[in-house]
Amino acid sequence: MADEKKKKLPPKAQAYQALQDKKEEKRPIVKNCMMAFLVGGTICFIGQIIMTFYIHFFPFTEQTAGNPTTATLIFLTMLATGFGYYDRLGQFAGAGSAVPVTGFGNAVISAAIEHRTEGYIIGVGTNMFKVAGPVIVYGVFSAFIVALIKTILTQWGGM
């Protein structure tokens, strides 16, 4: 909690906050970062293998092979999520499993599976992007702003 907010609390609540801060488990940041590095690196390494496969056996170039690689990784994520492996990976890998596109896939797919009991339209359809939605919304919006600025600069500003 922010310090300013803390000062407005009654004394008892302040004492409680202090106790909570003291008792809060320190996160093992170095260990977490190592795990994130290893798992995230491994997922990208697997991605590179798939990408090389597409470049050598299909008519993709280095620039275009990213898309089929993403699709393949998300397919593999579906299997890993469905059989419950991805959750277990996420417990010790932290951002290592969340930041690659497989984490995005996992967020969508696990939400879809979780809500299937509520029906396919209301359950699966509405909840699918519950977690991954903000990524798309602000990805698109920030891309719009960035591309707009760049286009104005290059086309009208003569840069």
Binding site: F37, C44, A71, G103, H115, M128
Partner: protein, 116 residues
């Protein structure tokens, strides 16, 4: 060599995400959103394409590449059709991630039952 750099660069981007989790205590949704916006800005500055040439999947697999691909599609269309392309070209390059997530999400929900 590209395999090595894919591993290292992909790993480093994940460590940045982990630091945002642990040091700044952000939720996964906040972290991923910031990374996507960051990727979009990097491409706007023309820095993401060289990173892909250098690290291959190490740059295309992390979620930052989603922001990069969105900007890329928008700029490509803007080149062809002028300023309106910024809106219409947005998903030109990056359809794979979202369509794959939707398709396999629905298939997954047909195949698997929730656990626990």
């Amino acid at each position: 060599m590209i395999f090595f750099w894919a591993f290292v660069v992909g790993g480093i981007i994940c460590v940045i995400g982990q630091l945002m989790f642990d040091v700044f205590k952000l939720s996964p949704a906040h972290t991923l959103t910031i990374l996507v916006v960051f990727g979009a800005i990097l491409d706007g500055l023309g820095l993401y394409e060289p990173l892909i040439d250098f690290a291959g999947a190490g740059a295309t697999v992390p979620i930052t590449s989603f922001g990069n691909a969105l900007v890329h599609g928008a700029l490509q269309e803007a080149d062809k059709h002028g300023i309106i392309g910024v809106v219409t070209g947005m998903f030109e390059v990056t359809s794979a991630g979202i369509s794959a997530a939707i398709i396999f999400g629905v298939i997954g929900s047909l195949l698997f039952k929730p656990k626990g």
